[in-house]
């Protein structure tokens, strides 16, 4: 057929336990059955015997993937710029990835999952399968792998690294320390998928841009401007704010340019999100969907009710979180900051800090759990929307936790020396520590698991007298590595959550205290240059290959960064007032102060409120989506045929 014969590498592995006794008959053995079925489904299976488990490494010829894509009704971009349903016969009509392959890593992974979990009992009766003497009956149309997961036979299905690409990326990306902020983003995209590539593109751009305020900050800190000294800080402040505004505006441009380069139709990503939304509509209210055309006004009203109810729920949940932060966390943080300020003994200080750190860990975990529960009761539309909702809620916790102590030092005590100390401490110590922890904890986990596995094996084999045991297979090592998960809300987020959180907290720190300590930008720039490489190293060496996710922008984080810019305008003004008025001579009438506070609240209402009410009613969006789906369904087949013909001509 047209340019096929390609096949993927071994990109997915299934873990099953090793059989204890190999002598038994293999007629009904479920692992053998699974391997047969996988082969029948068109996959290439390589069985690897590990020390304590057996691994089924899977690869797929392109044709098998194509069939899976067809069954999944996958929409793919055609070269006329329209997403159409994939069909194998018309494969020439579809746009290839920048690296020449037909399917992106995300699509391949989805196909693999479809193939693996799509193996069902197709016979008319139950199937009796055995494993190590245990028996279970597979019902008609029950998924084999799902059942085996329930029975504990399939321990995990995980994506595996491709050695060639991984090694290549290791050299040109993770270990390329001299590259400064240069990264092979396109290859990262092909290997890790769009979400991770977007993170690294953002990190690279942010770091590159950071050089400018870092140099400026250094100049402000070191040079003496003579009589102009009074004006230096305000000018620095203005430049920094403009810099930040431009940074994010240009990031948006870069993001859409990246999407265009990766052949993702942006407006269609948008639309895919809506599509997802529609599915959730369908799930929740299938009945109404059916007689939609019958009486439209009823449908419209129901949708509208639904929309407002969802909005109300979200507002209520956010109010709960905000109240919890203000009533529970704020006093706690202030108490700690106050204690730290008044305690004189160093030993006691450390004790208090240790206690505080313990408590805050617990509090954060609890907050994360509460947020996840709350989100379940919101009717968020689609997974990405829930993930965004979680980001906002959890960021609130971290925001309070990170900055309130700093404000305490800056505002109440006007103690700029302590403030600078704390900032340096936080930035350097915590970020270096974090990088270390980020990279060492996975390694320790891995080592521990490895040790355990070997010890267990040794115990088993002590009789056999085998002395030196080593991991022969790479796939087993990978299996023992931890996966890339979020510290909070694992169900909704992957490890990028923590990486973005770190970045956002750093950005908030450098922006909000820019005037108190201009040198801070240098530290941040240095930190980020190492961050790029260590994060890359973590992904390539320390962890399992992450499961690809679909989101194509930095999502909720963009809004958080924008919010931090606005916050930093206000905080820097307050800092400047404190700096210029060290003796506290400036008086302000209470009436004037009240009016100023009211003004700020109103500006917040103006710019925040409008986000609450969506600009397009749900029923309009739904009807648009419905017609778009209809349009695609109608034209897909016909169009594809003519497209691939035209291409061949």
């Amino acid at each position: 057929m047209n340019g096929t014969g390609e096949e993927t590498g071994f990109e997915v592995a299934i873990v099953v336990p090793k059989k204890r006794d190999k002598e038994k008959d293999e007629s009904c053995d479920c692992v053998e059955f699974l391997v047969d079925e996988l082969t029948k489904a068109g996959l290439i299976v390589e069985r690897v015997n590990g020390i304590s488990d057996e691994f089924l490494k899977l690869a797929a010829p392109l044709e098998t993937l194509g069939r899976a894509a067809y069954e999944l009704q996958m929409k793919k971009l055609t070269y006329i710029g329209m997403d159409l349903q994939f069909e194998w016969d018309q494969v020439t009509a579809f746009v290839r990835q920048p690296d020449g392959s037909l399917f992106s890593w995300l699509e391949r992974y989805n196909c693999f999952r479809h193939l693996i979990y799509g193996i069902v009992n197709e016979t008319e009766s139950e199937l009796i399968l055995k494993f190590d003497g245990d028996e279970f009956a597979l019902q008609r149309n029950e998924s084999l792998v799902e059942r085996m997961e329930v029975e504990g036979i399939v321990k995990q299905v995980f994506p595996t690294h491709e050695e060639v690409t991984r090694k290549r990326l290791l050299w040109i990306w993770a270990l390329n320390w001299l590259g400064f902020t240069e990264q092979p983003i396109d290859e990262v995209y092909s290997y890790f998928g769009i979400k991770i590539a977007t993170y690294f593109a953002f990190l690279g751009m942010y770091t590159k841009w950071l050089v400018f305020p870092a140099v400026l900050g250094l100049a402000v800190q070191l040079l003496d401007f003579g009589s102009m000294q009074l004006l230096v800080l305000p000018s620095f402040f203005i430049v920094v704010i403009s810099w930040a505004v431009l940074l994010f505006q240009f990031w948006k441009r870069k993001n859409s340019a990246l999407l265009a380069r990766w052949e993702i139709n942006y407006s269609l990503t948008d639309y895919r999100a809506i599509n997802m939304e529609m599915t959730s509509f369908k799930q929740s209210r299938e009945q109404l969907q059916e007689n939609m055309d019958a009486d439209k006004p009823t449908e419209k009203r129901a949708l509208q009710k639904d929309e407002w109810f969802g909005l109300l729920l979200r507002i209520r949940n956010n109010a709960i979180i905000v109240m919890a932060i203000i009533c529970l966390q704020l006093p706690f943080e202030l108490a700690y900051a106050h204690l730290y300020e008044i305690i004189e003994s160093d030993v006691l200080k450390y004790a208090v800090t240790a206690l505080y750190l313990l408590a805050i860990q617990y509090y954060t975990k609890l907050g994360g759990k509460v947020s996840v529960i709350l989100i379940k009761y919101e009717n968020n539309q689609g997974e990405e929307s829930s993930a965004d909702s979680l980001v906002y809620k959890v960021f609130g916790l971290y925001f309070m936790q990170t900055y309130i102590g700093l404000f305490y030092h800056a505002l109440l005590h006007r103690n700029f020396t302590t403030l600078r100390q704390v900032i340096i401490q936080r930035l350097i110590v915590s970020q270096i520590l974090e990088n270390l922890v980020e990279n060492s904890i996975p390694y320790l986990q891995y080592s521990y698991k490895k040790y355990k596995a070997i010890r267990k094996k040794k115990c088993d084999k002590r009789s056999a007298g085998a002395k030196s045991l080593q991991f022969a297979s790479r796939v087993e090592k990978e299996y023992l590595k931890p996966s890339y998960t979020a510290s909070i809300g694992e169900e909704l987020e992957d490890g990028l959550f923590d990486d973005f959180l770190e970045l956002a907290l750093q950005f908030g720190m450098i922006m909000m205290f820019a005037c108190a300590f201009p040198l801070i930008f240098c530290f941040a720039a240095l930190n980020n240059i190492t961050e790029i490489r260590t994060d890359a190293l973590k992904l390539l060496v320390m962890l399992k290959r992450p499961v690809p996710r679909a989101s194509a922008t930095i999502g909720a984080w963009l809004n958080i960064f924008q919010f931090l810019i606005v916050m930093s305008i206000c905080t820097n003004c307050v800092l400047l007032i404190c700096l210029y008025d060290q003796e506290g001579n400036w008086r302000i009438e209470p009436g004037l102060a009240g009016i100023l506070i009211m003004e700020h609240i109103l500006l917040l209402i103006k710019f925040g409120f409008s986000r609450c009410v969506p600009e397009e009613p749900a029923w309009v969006r739904l009807s648009r989506v419905k017609s778009a789906v209809q349009a695609r369904d109608v034209c897909s087949k016909q169009l594809l045929k003519s497209l691939s013909q035209r291409k061949i001509d």
Copy 2:
């Protein structure tokens, strides 16, 4: 064929002078030739002899319009929710208007124009045509009507009222004073097109919403809240700002709901705008377009250069306007306000005001002209974008002119009595006057023209002894009525510019001085209730039927309204300070004041700046548009056939 046989009313008229001598041979008479050709083109022509001119009233069978639409390659919404190129054979595939007709008024008008101006000399040689003894030669492929316009034979081509619908609208809309804010928006849409209907929908919603702050303002003004009196104004202020924020958020929702009801695919309107943009790209740089696929990076760089150059031009032009306003208009306005304040003699005051009004008229006209010239040097993409650019520039002039005097009274002199007087004076007197002028000037113009026409005729016919002359034909009366044009920048805007300007200035006035005079909302509400009906009356009775325009939102005005809300937050705070501190006892440190001013500037930068840099690079947008166009072109024909078949089945 499928549900045809309909035809439009007489909706367009061509005006030609009456022939002086009717005896001459008619073989080469160009009017006769025109009538023949119009009939051949499938139009229905009715000739009406007026007093001084002759009118060719045109109607069209649906089939003729369909042919024109096909030739225009008009895109229309099909029932699968996709815009496809219109084809007469597949007419069942297209969605009908809410009132049952196939084409909207805008589409009909475009078809008419295409048919009228599409009459060309199709013979191989020149055509010699005569009119009243004058001769001219029509070149090959030259448009007949265009040439006749140049020769002064076709005086005007204008859309005419449809008597039945007009009368109906007059009764249920313009004269329905008891309807409060109720309007038959759908019928307005069918008759006047989308832009005017959107204006009236906005006006209606705004007026309805105004009732709430009007009642509140009345309560604040009249009731005595005892010890809480101090808190009344700030609370009123907060409520009003929230009200305004919600109003515009809900307006956006209503706008998209309206578009859905009128079967306009919003995302596609969006896309149509992009389409327009692409045409302008093509016009300006056809060369580059051709070898676009040949070397993409060059193309990309050129587009990027183009984009930034355009941005720079726009910034420069806006800077010119802002400088002109600050350096020329501001001193002038302040001088007038100051003179008005210090002059004691009433006579002198009136003289100064008269002088000021004269000067400001002249200045505004000049500003408008300069703006239009500047806009020509911007590379705005599409007509609507230029119109928006004009709106921003001219609004700057009017903003200064309307409010600076008020601020002078409020801030410098803390003279709230004068302020209130001036506000009432402006609101009541000027708005009532404006309404009167708006409606009487067209009538006077019409009467004058009528008088002139009759007098001329009388002079001619004095010998013939005809005594009483009356206008027999409605079309001639309409011809004499003024058309719906903007007072500034006629080339770019229609009469809605003035109506929106009036609305925006009123909104600015009531919002920015809300705290100084809460009763103001009542006046505005009353004024707007009359405004709805008088504007409707103006359109239906006083003016020619307006040429329909395509824009489907309130466009630049929405941004202006949003800007006014932000401004009003700041101004009301200043007003509150002045109100609570009548004696001027509140002191503020210069350093603090400086920092506060800096904060406001930075917030402005944050929220204004980001609008300067478009979020999507031009080349991304262009490539998306190109592929969308391609997609449509490929699928149009095939798809249509299957669609109309499915419909028939």
